[in-house]
């Protein structure tokens, strides 16, 4: 079936270097530096990436960072909790905008 997303496209990510290799190189250097061990461990960064992948709902990132989390020693319980963090922030973000709704209601109501 035709679909916008193809699992094999993940391996073609580097095709994005073809249009602008300089920008690609800069992005990849930055990307590599971001995920290197720093104040946070590589394992912790992979868990954050997994949560963000769910927040932005990128199937390529979910695939890649599920594998990455496992290969950095995380387990399914930790990864599920990370996804719940993304879920809580997304849900909370919707809910907190309810304050705007209530502000407008209060402004307009008698």
């Amino acid at each position: 079936m035709e679909t916008y997303y193809h699992p094999k496209d993940l391996a073609k990510f580097s095709d994005m270097s073809k249009g602008s290799p300089q920008l690609w190189d800069k992005f990849m250097a930055y990307y590599g530096a971001v995920f290197a061990e720093g104040a946070l461990t590589e394992r912790e960064k992979a868990l954050i990436a997994l949560a963000v992948a769910h927040a932005v709902q990128c199937p390529y990132c979910i695939d890649a960072y599920t594998q990455s989390c496992l290969e950095k020693g995380s387990n399914a319980e930790e990864m599920t909790e990370a996804v719940h963090v993304a879920c809580a922030i997304r849900g909370g973000a919707s809910l907190v905008h309810g304050v705007q709704m209530r502000n407008v209601v209060n402004q307009l109501s008698m």
Binding site: E42, R43, Q67, L70, E71, K72, G73, N75, A76, E77
Partner: protein, 345 residues
């Protein structure tokens, strides 16, 4: 309990069938091609530092990733005669380390004799232990025996949580492993300065590569200490080799080509140059010589001019032999590398 491939009548019980599958993978170049491109072909030995004896395939567990297809139904066991040939060969060398594996090596009737003889020759001895064997009633004095002979225990524990460990090694194996580790700690194993070395082995519980060894060791030390009060010396991370029962898991779960591609994409020339087979000789239960325990399970003995049986042990011929390779070797060259002593690069 899981059944061995042989007990299931699975065609992958045949090493020939395993090699056929490995040779027909569509997701990576032949291992020899990658080694040639890296300037590492032919792969040659650099001397022998580890004398690894596989005393047989009998085991009280049937782990899902086992590269030996070991289990309670396996009857292949090293005889005293072959064990004597091993010690005679060892005595004619100054190879410093004897690594005893299986199966569950402790369940071989000649295990303790081998340990005593090798220690008597002044060699460092390692026991690749599945931990649960220490709790079997006939083995109640095994821990004291190992401690008395200062045998290094290399114990399998894939993870510090029960779910992942039991998924790989069998129901309730985690609880037994923790009990056995506490027993070893009680004897002094794993405590700094005791002289009794307890190292753990992590294999991933699935079709992915192991975590970075040092980082995972820190995690294991923290979690095993916090949850169970257990101490150990080092953690070795070992990549699951795509042979035998793990190969069967890969094929049945639809992960085979993806895993081979993952291994090949992570090919690391530094790890390839440091593979353990270059400084190891592996002896099978029947005395046949192999480059490593994986080649042993694939029935790939040492190549001529090396002589392929321990009765003809010729160190000079073995020291610089060409090593037999095939696509399973990607398992030792991926990422940080993998060996019986953990990461290599």
């Amino acid at each position: 309990m899981e059944l061995t491939l042989i007990a299931r009548g699975n065609e992958l019980a045949s090493s020939r069938e395993q090699l056929r599958r490995l040779g027909s993978t569509t997701s990576c170049a032949a291992f020899e091609t990658r080694m040639s491109a890296a300037g590492l072909a032919p792969l040659t030995a650099t001397g022998i530092e580890v004398f690894q004896i596989n005393v047989g395939k009998f085991c009280n567990q049937t782990c899902r990733h086992c590269h030996v297809d070991a289990g309670p139904d396996r009857t292949e066991q090293m005889s005293r005669e072959t064990a004597q040939l091993c010690i005679r060969a060892l005595a004619g060398t100054d190879i410093p380390t004897v690594d005893i594996t299986g199966g569950a090596p402790e369940l071989n009737a000649n295990f303790r004799w081998l340990v005593e003889q090798a220690r008597g020759l002044g060699r460092h001895v390692m026991d690749r232990c599945n931990l649960s064997v220490l709790l079997l009633a006939p083995q109640k004095d095994l821990g004291q025996f190992l401690a008395r002979h200062q045998v290094e225990v290399v114990a399998s524990l894939p993870y510090f949580r029960p779910a992942q460990t039991d998924a790989q090694r069998g129901e309730k194996v985690f609880d037994k492993s923790i009990a056995a580790l506490k027993l070893l700690n009680g004897l002094g194993y794993g405590h700094e300065g005791s002289g009794l070395v307890l190292n753990l082995v992590h294999n991933p519980a699935g079709a992915f590569l192991p975590a970075q060894q040092q980082a995972l060791q820190s995690q294991f030390k923290r979690e095993l200490g916090r949850r169970h009060g257990i101490v150990f010396n080092r953690l070795y991370t070992i990549t699951n080799m795509p042979i035998s029962r793990f190969l069967n898991f890969l094929i049945e779960s639809g992960n085979y080509e993806g895993y081979m591609q993952r291994l090949a994409n992570a090919f690391n020339p530094a790890a390839a140059a440091a593979v353990m087979c270059r400084h190891t000789i592996s002896i099978g239960w029947d005395g046949t010589l192999y480059d490593c325990d994986f080649n042993q399970m694939l029935d790939l003995p040492v190549q001529a001019p090396a002589l392929p049986h321990v009765k003809d042990f010729d160190l000079a011929r073995l020291n610089h032999r060409c090593i037999a390779t095939a696509n399973h070797c990607y398992g030792c060259t991926a990422g940080a590398g993998s060996s019986c002593g953990g990461a290599t690069a």
